[in-house]
């Protein structure tokens, strides 16, 4: 290759962070456009990366765009080692897209603009890094680096309970990370020669780890990843963080951060500890089932629109866990990846839509609205589109991912009942989404209360348009996306059959 595209993806936002810090505080417009530029370049690069990967590398399961390993801290064998494959490329694309969209959607931030955009770009660096890193030390550093800007973004620009939500998010995630750190060190000292190289560990870990050690490492990694996903019962940070965070940060939280949990499982836990995955496959699927049903039921009870979307994330990520439990089915794992991708698009868009309404109405209470379809038809149309996508209407990406998850996990031995029960989740999702649409956009319109509501503007339409487009494209013609990751996922399932 020669062109270190992954490093550019990581370090252009970091350069943006530094640049924004040195911009004058009293030029908010300059700061906004500078940040937009520094997130637009990685977005373009991520498109180019996807294109390149699709046409040149997707035939094989080997890592593409590899950089390194370059020595970094030789005393602990930490290296700078990057690479991308069919699991990380879609995530990198999603990160590039959602970061750019979120930065555009943040132009209405007026309070402490400079710090806001600086932290946002730092956040993007961390996210890109997690999806590229192939060295555990590097992976852990990026994993943690993200927490700091996220803590500030929620804590400074969040809603009324921002301080509580920010520290809860920070402590919860750090709590998970320390287990990962112990597991990383345990892996490091079990391997001979000691290594933090993920690729080597994927090849060798099942060989040198005893059964007990596999279960131990798997469990410790699982806590870290499960908190990020979040898997029930580790989900309690999510409603607080999502609801209190400013709109664009909610988008990133739901669209990218949650995926890091499932990404970590696919990248680390599943190929490295196949015995443990086989051992725990039913409990994992059951956790997924609980999340699907529980998340949907709790969503149903929400009065606040943003909370509804937040809890629907718990439910939707449950499908991923169900699919991950069915480890031997390529269809299920592909469904998991599809779900990660499409949930990022749909829920990201829903949070953007909620934010737009909140900016105008200053409330998010579902019961406060009614008949909005009369007053703001474009908004209503888009909102209905994304709600339909979220409930899995055929023709949208949500449907493709759910059907793949169900087909895959139903065919997995012993999962028939679990899958059958999980299908109830689809009905429940339809229930709360349709009820929300009905109560907010249909029915009687209160002219006196909402007469002054304005339609969304072009900038706002443009921020959600790419998400809507992709949702439909993936829904109608999913083959490119599945071809993108086919070889990698087949190889993953083979690795797990060891």
């Amino acid at each position: 290759m020669g062109f270190p595209i992954l490093s550019y993806l990581i370090f252009i936002p970091l350069a943006g962070f530094v640049a924004v810090i040195f911009l004058p505080k009293d030029r908010p417009q300059l700061i906004r456009w500078t940040s937009a530029a520094f997130s637009f370049v990685p977005f373009l690069l991520s498109i180019y990366l996807t294109y390149q990967y699709y046409f040149s590398y997707s035939g094989s399961s080997a890592m593409a765009f590899v950089e390194g390993p370059f020595g970094w801290i030789s005393a602990i064998n930490a290296n700078y080692y990057l690479g991308a494959d069919g699991i990380s490329v879609p995530m990198l694309f999603l990160t590039g897209l959602l970061s750019f969209v979120s930065i555009l959607a943040s132009f209405n931030i007026v309070n402490r603009v400079k710090e806001y955009f600086a932290f946002f770009l730092l956040l993007e660096t961390g996210m890109m890094g997690v999806f590229c890193a192939l060295d555990f030390f590097l992976f852990y550093v990026f994993w943690e680096v993200m927490l700091v800007p996220m803590y500030f973004l929620i804590g400074v620009w969040g809603g009324p309970r921002k301080e509580y939500a920010a520290i809860k998010f920070f402590l919860y995630t750090l709590f998970g990370s320390i287990f990962m750190l112990v597991a990383i060190l345990a892996l490091y000292f079990s391997s001979n020669p000691h290594t933090l190289n993920m690729m080597e560990l994927i090849q060798n870990a099942p060989g040198f780890l005893t059964h007990g050690m596999q279960l131990f490492c798997f469990a410790f990694f699982f806590i870290a990843f499960a908190i990020k996903v979040p898997v029930w019962p580790f989900h309690t940070w999510l409603p607080d963080a999502h609801v209190e965070a400013p709109t664009a940060v909610s988008v990133i939280l739901a669209g990218v951060l949650l995926k890091m949990g499932t990404y970590g499982m696919l990248r680390v836990s599943w190929p490295m500890f196949p015995e443990a995955v086989r051992f725990f496959s039913l409990p994992i699927a059951l956790l997924g089932l609980i999340a699907i049903i529980y998340g949907a039921l709790v969503s149903m009870a929400q009065k606040d629109l943003k909370k509804l979307v937040a809890y629907s994330s718990v439910s939707h990520m449950g499908y991923c866990m169900l699919a991950l439990g069915a480890w031997s089915s390529v269809t299920a794992i592909t469904g998991c990846m599809f779900q990660m991708f499409s949930h990022g698009l749909i829920t990201g868009a829903l949070f953007l839509m909620v934010g737009m309404l909140y900016d105008r109405a200053h409330t998010r209470e579902i019961a406060a609205f009614g008949g909005l379809g009369v007053k703001i038809p474009v908004y209503t149309g888009l909102m209905v589109l994304f709600s339909m996508a979220a409930l899995g209407l055929p023709g949208m990406s949500g449907f493709v991912s759910e059907i793949m998850v169900f087909i895959g996990s139903f065919s997995f031995p012993g999962f028939k009942l679990v899958t059958a029960l999980a299908v109830i989740g689809v009905v429940l999702t339809a229930g709360y989404m349709l009820r929300m649409v009905q109560r907010m956009f249909l029915g009687e319109f209160d002219q006196g209360k909402w007469g002054g509501l304005t339609e969304i503007n072009v900038r706002e339409i443009l921020t959600v348009a790419p998400l809507a487009l992709l949702t439909i494209v993936v829904g109608v013609y999913p083959a490119p996306l599945s071809n993108l990751m086919k070889a990698t996922l087949e190889n993953l399932v083979n690795l797990m059959a060891r």
Binding site: I73, A75, F137, Y140, G155, V156, E163, A186
Partner: protein, 487 residues
């Protein structure tokens, strides 16, 4: 024939003379020198560092003074701590200690000489002398605000407990001498193993010696349960002196501990050679420090008390590296103290300048600092995050090394406990950030620190970030320090 290779003592000799010169200069100028005496002291420290670079490596006075890699590494830490403490004092030098500036800076330098001497001591008596030379000037410095009740109380408390612990330490050292017939640590190590081989066990004398030496050094390190003096003394002392206490004197204690235990009593770190296993005792004390320090720090409203408890917790982490008794363990301790120098010095320097301008040490009064003084708040946030061990800052690499050493040595329970407590610690470190950034009430005034303090802060932040991203060079030095002990 005794060897007197005086050249390796040149840094210490120079710094000692410079301290005397500072005393004289202050008198000579009739104490009318609000700024330059601080700069003179800083210059002295820099020159000493250069001399250290030129003259290091070697043994003199029949093995009593050893300038090895470990000593040199820690001497750099001591000089850094002294440099930063002196820089941080530039504000209080103008007004608060107007009548005794020369003595103040001179005593800081003398205490530094003591630390440097201690780190080179490869023999029990010179080690003890070094330790006393470190602490005696600090007794005076802690009580330096003589009109302030808390400062005088702190000084008295430190004096009584310090003297008491020195006595215990001396008793322990004399028992070691009695058992082995030597004060040379390496000979002591050999003699103890010979004793063990001849008799199969050594008996209660060694147990008493180990317990007493742990207690004696434990007081200097503020290791739980010998930590009770720390919060009051840290709160009462002038803040730059608190910083010096928490970094310099702690690092000195860490060297003494390494020399006596990790080297001299290496064979008794586990149950193989002794009825008493000092490894497990120290591991339990480390666990106690990590738990108690972090939990007590949660409740503190005063930033200096909070940092005092945090430093009790930090020494608990350092002790994990000690009990590992391995190359990685020693390297991790050295590296940890090196990063701790920047993070803790920086945090105390912010506290100093904040106190000078607002007269307040309460964490609540930091509210809104990010709006009035964005740079100062950002620096403080970096220090807090580094102390909490968040990557990519130096504090993370330090903690990673310590935990790696702990796991390598099989102390999995201790590492998991320490990591859980690191999560707890994030709460109170983040609390400071929360005050500075999230709070809507803006009480903190705009603070423009003087040049010396800005320099100290810039050095600290640069150290934390650069050595967090590129720890390799320092880590290689730290690994060299481990070679001294030849595990």
């Amino acid at each position: 024939m005794p060897d007197f290779n005086i050249s390796i003592l040149i840094p210490e000799i120079f710094l000692f003379i410079w301290a005397l010169f500072i005393f004289a200069y202050d008198l000579g100028t009739k104490r009318k020198n609000p700024k330059q005496i601080g700069y003179l002291a800083m210059i002295g420290v820099v020159v000493t560092a250069i001399l250290l670079y030129l003259f290091h490596g070697g043994i003199t006075f029949n093995n009593m003074f050893q300038s090895d890699q470990l000593a040199t590494f820690f001497k750099v830490i001591f000089l850094g701590a002294a440099f930063m403490a002196i820089g941080a004092s530039s504000d209080i030098a103008v007004e608060k200690i107007r009548n005794h500036r020369g003595e103040y800076f001179g005593l800081v330098l003398l205490s530094t000489v003591g630390m440097m001497f201690l780190s080179s001591a490869s023999e029990l008596i010179s080690l003890y002398v070094g330790l006393e030379l470190t602490t005696v000037p600090l007794y005076i410095l802690v009580a330096y605000y003589k009109d302030d009740r808390t400062s005088v109380e702190a000084g008295l408390k430190y004096l009584i407990i310090g003297a008491f612990s020195s006595a215990i330490l001396l008793y322990g050292l004399s028992l070691l001498y009695g058992l082995t017939g030597t004060t040379d640590i390496v000979v002591m190590k050999i003699n103890l193993s010979l004793l063990f081989l001849n008799y199969g066990k050594i008996g209660p004398g060694l147990i008493m010696a180990i317990v007493m030496v742990i207690a004696g050094i434990g007081f200097k390190l503020a290791l739980v349960p010998f930590h009770m003096w720390a919060p009051d003394v840290y709160q009462g002392a002038p803040t730059p002196i608190t910083a010096l206490l928490s970094v310099g004197s702690k690092a000195a204690g860490a060297v003494a501990f390494m020399r006596i235990f990790v080297n001299g009593l290496f064979g008794f770190a586990d149950k193989v050679m002794s009825p008493l296993d000092w490894g497990i005792i120290v591991a339990v004390l480390a666990a106690g420090g990590v738990v108690l320090g972090n939990i007590m720090a949660l409740r503190q409203k005063n930033i200096k008390r909070m940092l005092a408890y945090s430093s009790i917790a930090q020494i608990g982490y350092v002790m994990i590296g000690m009990v590992a008794t391995s190359d990685l363990g020693v390297a991790s301790v050295s590296f940890y103290m090196f990063i701790y120098l920047f993070a803790n010095m920086g945090a105390f320097t912010v506290a100093t300048v904040f106190n000078d301008r607002t007269g307040s040490d309460s964490i609540r009064s930091y509210a809104g600092l990010s709006k009035s003084s964005p740079a100062l708040a950002a620096f403080m946030a970096v220090f807090m995050l580094s102390l909490a061990g968040i990557p990519p800052l130096g504090g993370f690499v330090a903690k990673y090394l310590v935990f790696a050493a702990g796991i390598q040595a099989g102390y999995l329970w201790l590492v998991i406990l320490a990591l859980l407590m690191a999560v707890v610690s994030l709460y109170y470190y983040a609390n400071v950030i929360k005050m500075m950034y999230f709070s809507s009430e803006a009480s903190a005034p705009r603070i423009v620190p003087p040049f010396a303090i800005s320099l100290v802060l810039a050095l600290s932040v640069a150290g934390i970030i650069i050595f967090g991203l590129f720890p390799e060079p320092i880590l290689n030095f730290a690994l060299d320090t481990a070679k001294v002990f030849a595990f």
